[in-house]
Amino acid sequence: MNQILTIARKEIVDGLRDSRSVAASLAYALMGPVVVGLVSMTVHGKKDSEAVLTGMMAIFTLVSAFVGGMNVAMDTVAGERERKSLLPLLMNAVPRANVVLGKWLAVSFFAMGGLVINVLGFLVVCESAGMHVTASSRELFLGACGLFTLPFLASAIQLCISTISRGVKEAQTYLSLVTFVPMGMGMFLVFCPAAARTWCRFLPLVGQQLQFEALMNGSGVSFLQPVVLGYLTLALAALVLLVAANRLQRDEIIYGN
């Protein structure tokens, strides 16, 4: 456990010192609230304006969970391979699963940070646009349980992709494409809400979006849905981490360059 925390701590310190990367992540996290704030001024008083704004917010929120830790995920494995610091790390009697877990915690820290800033930004936008969240505090807590597991999944996916990539540029290409998944999924559900079946509420990513929208439009959140969704999201993250740890065992990690 000490090794995992040591790696996580080092990656967080290292990531925070990369001021350009931090600024980029902050810009991504605040982009949603700024855009939705501008749109809210345009659609103010029009029919269905709240539904439009809620849909936009859901998409930006999902995306923020993916972009918050993207730079760190890129840097922490693909970047290490490129800078040739991964080999010295692997020579230090550290099981590779610990390496993956430590780095995953660090990426999750940044992803969670991006998501929290994004959600706080939307709260400010809602306040200024006169939109009121009618959900009870219990529903908000349950909703948060489901929503805030998403950065852990996003970080696991990004770390796994970074492990597969041979360099930062390659990782950046793949991770940018991954960002389109929540975006595309979100837009699809905004324009085709009827496509969402009941089981979709338990599907990681889709479930978080539907839950977010339900919280915002006051249609209610059951106890079961966010809890099961949270568990499934974390289980999927664990599975992806296993793939990443397995990948890190391969010779290509050492000879990939």
Binding site: N2, Q3, T6, I7, K10, V13, D14, R17, D18, E80, R83, K84, S85, L86, L87, P88, L89, L90, M91, N92, A93, V94, P95, D251, I254, Y255
Partner: protein, 291 residues
């Protein structure tokens, strides 16, 4: 056989005694006993003498169907500098990476201090392979602290050790600078500090003098001799014959992934029937009918 073997960590004596690196102080068991007492490193009197040694037995490794190491066996004893001499692509780096536990052999095995598991081996090996890879946004001190913590060193002794390593390697002036923009020599010294921080009983280097200036090469040679003198098992690979002749007590000549000859530089010359190590190397690795 070194009388110092059996201590918990002989190289730590070096680490805590700067004059061993830059000065010409003699090495005596009394000096090291005093050093061990001073730094409160527990002795392990029960540890059998001669246990620390690197052995490989019939190692084989292939990449994408191409056999890089073919049945390689050699031993590197304690208190000696063993050179792996071979041309580019002979399998030196792959062998060292298997010794250091970052690559797994397809067959055969490696033992370091009788440990076979790669994580166990890594506990007693300090290595400076071809990837120096420092963290550019961390200072020298932070780089060392990170690896010390990963090695499980206790916080109270870690700071003391870091200060000693910094002092020994002459890194005081740059200790609190981030490593971005360091010269090759500064990077190398920092990486050496990282490899020696946990006082390894075995030290592995892969072509360590590549890209270094002459004073740094000279310091590095001195360091390796001092480590050898305190009983550390030192293995390094090179294709620079002068370096091998200057440093090595034993040489294992490697060609096409296997050991073709072993012995002291003089023994190799005698074996090949040549006057120079260069001729001996050519004769042993590339017979006349092939070259």
């Amino acid at each position: 056989m070194s009388p110092l073997r059996g201590w918990s960590s002989v190289a730590s004596g070096f680490v805590f005694f700067p004059s061993l690196f830059f000065g010409s102080a003699g090495v005596t068991s009394t000096t090291f006993s005093a050093l061990h007492f001073f730094v409160r490193i527990p002795l392990q009197p029960g540890l059998p003498i001669h246990t620390a040694m690197i052995k490989t037995n019939n190692l084989r490794k292939s990449f994408q169907g191409r056999q890089v190491v073919r049945g390689l066996s050699f031993e590197a004893p304690d208190g000696a500098i063993t050179g792996l001499l071979g041309a580019n692509g002979a399998g030196k780096t792959t062998t060292l990476r298997m010794i250091c536990g970052v690559l797994q052999a397809d067959s055969g095995y490696v033992t370091v201090d009788e440990a076979m598991d790669s994580i166990d081996r890594q506990h007693s090996v300090g290595a400076l392979l071809d990837h120096i890879g420092l963290y550019s946004r961390l200072t020298v001190r932070e780089n060392l602290a990170y690896f010390g913590r990963l090695r499980g060193m206790r916080p109270e002794s870690l700071d003391q050790r870091i200060n000693s390593v910094i002092s020994v390697l002459g890194l005081e002036a740059i200790a609190d600078r981030r490593t971005a923009g360091f010269s090759q020599g500064e990077r190398m010294r920092t990486a050496l500090g990282r490899a020696l921080l946990h006082s390894p009983k075995n030290f592995v280097l892969d072509e360590p003098t590549n890209g270094l200036d002459i004073p740094t090469i000279r310091s590095l040679r001195e360091l390796l001799r001092k480590l050898r003198d305190v009983g550390t098992c030192v293995v390094f690979s090179s294709h620079v014959l002068d370096e091998v002749r200057a440093l090595c007590d034993r040489v294992s000549v490697i060609a096409k992934g296997t050991i073709v000859a072993q012995g002291s530089p003089e023994e190799l010359c005698s074996l090949a029937g040549t006057d120079s190590l260069e001729d001996a190397f050519i004769e042993l690795t590339c017979p006349a009918e092939v070259c």
